[in-house]
């Protein structure tokens, strides 16, 4: 019987993912209402639960895709993969108030610039503190602190070695997870409650998955504004990482 059930889940992978994620969100919403008195957003609990399950899945299977590495739950990989994620992010633009978005345009651009520079500086300083002296490794680790895509793209362009690449990717992934979990906790403190600050946030945090998760967990109405700037972040990082940033680092460390 168990085998038959598993067979259905494997065959109907995307449908199974809808059911599983739906159940997860239902449980999270009940928990948010009953356990926290509505103080914590149901989606924040669902996202943290998702991350926890991803950890369990990763330990259980030894794979890199969390729960999606379990054959019966492979549909989660499709449902939460880049294709449907981007499709849903674009759909959120339908709720954008054009006036608000235009008013925050300049803030968004400023945020994108800072959001590329600040993490890079922190990443490079950390790399230097841990004994890396060559410009390629320092730049690659710094780029990983921008996002987990900028890191490996930069590293590949510069010919960094695979241990450094792994560190760079892990830094980006840790940042994305930190953004998802941390945003609802600090939202009030950093004034993240209106479209304008959401655009600044999207440009600064950058990592699309982090921003997507962080805003969903904080307040869904902010999602399209944050996503609008965040989606430019990785491209800009990939542009300046192997070029301007690398040349700057090389000029400094020689």
């Amino acid at each position: 019987m168990w085998h038959g059930l598993e067979h259905v889940f494997v065959e109907q992978s995307l449908v199974a993912a809808f059911a599983v994620v739906g159940a997860l969100i239902l449980v999270s919403n009940v928990a948010a209402k009953k356990l926290t008195n509505g103080r914590v957003h149901g989606s924040a609990i669902a996202i943290v639960l998702g991350l926890a399950l991803a950890y369990v899945g990763g330990v259980f299977t030894g794979g890199k895709k969390g729960l999606a590495d379990i054959p019966a739950l492979a549909g989660i990989g499709l449902m939460g993969g880049a294709m449907l994620r981007d499709f849903a992010i674009v759909a959120t633009a339908f709720e954008v108030d054009v006036v608000e978005a235009r008013r925050a345009g300049l803030v968004g651009v400023l945020a994108l610039a800072l959001g590329t520079l600040l993490p890079f500086v922190v990443g490079t300083l950390t790399a230097v503190a841990f004994g890396y002296h060559d410009a390629v490794s320092i730049t690659t680790i710094g780029a990983g602190a921008i996002t987990y895509i900028v890191g490996p793209v930069t590293g590949a362009a510069l010919g960094a070695d695979s241990t450094v690449m792994a560190l760079s990717i892990a830094t980006g992934v840790t940042k994305a997870v930190g953004v998802m979990v941390g945003t609802p906790l600090v939202a009030k403190l950093i004034g993240l409650d209106n479209p304008r600050s959401a655009m600044a946030y999207g440009g600064l945090m950058g990592t699309v998955s982090g921003v997507a998760g962080g805003l969903a967990a904080t307040d869904p109405k902010l999602v399209p504004y944050g996503a609008l700037t965040a989606t430019f972040h990785t491209g800009i990082g990939c542009l300046v990482g192997p070029s301007v940033l690398f040349l700057t680092v090389r000029a400094i460390v020689g």
């Binding site: 991803a54 939460g80 759909a91 339908f94 108030d97 602190a145 941390g182 990939c238």
Partner: protein, 152 residues
Amino acid sequence: MIIAGVALLAACTLVGVYLGDLLGVALGVKANVGGVGIAMILLIAARVWLVRTGRLTKNVKFGVEFWGGMYIPIVVAMAAQQNVVAAVSGGPIVIIAALGSLAICFAAVALLSRLGGRDAGSPEVAQGGAILGGDFDERPADASAISASRKG
């Protein structure tokens, strides 16, 4: 036609991602530059045009908004397939670089959001939030009237 809304969304996404790829090639970058952002801008423009010409029917709207409402479930699925094991076992250099940049970026958000006035946003923003939160039925009955008057 509900499919018209879904198709519009798909077309905007495809064109946006394609333009993002082209932009990447033009800049000599091995990545898509802002494809999703371009797609979002296309969809916003399409919506303004549909409203202006009176073509934004309930069904077209539903076709797009359904996917907006699926956003959070999709993000939960995305969270469930992150490589959390790698993140947790990355060691001190990873933790310091990641959390350090996180802290400094949060601080910068606080700074930037204090620049200029703070406003909680229009009723339209809040209404959009209800849809993205997946609660279509909690929309006030006269919501379309509000957005129509704001568009005018």
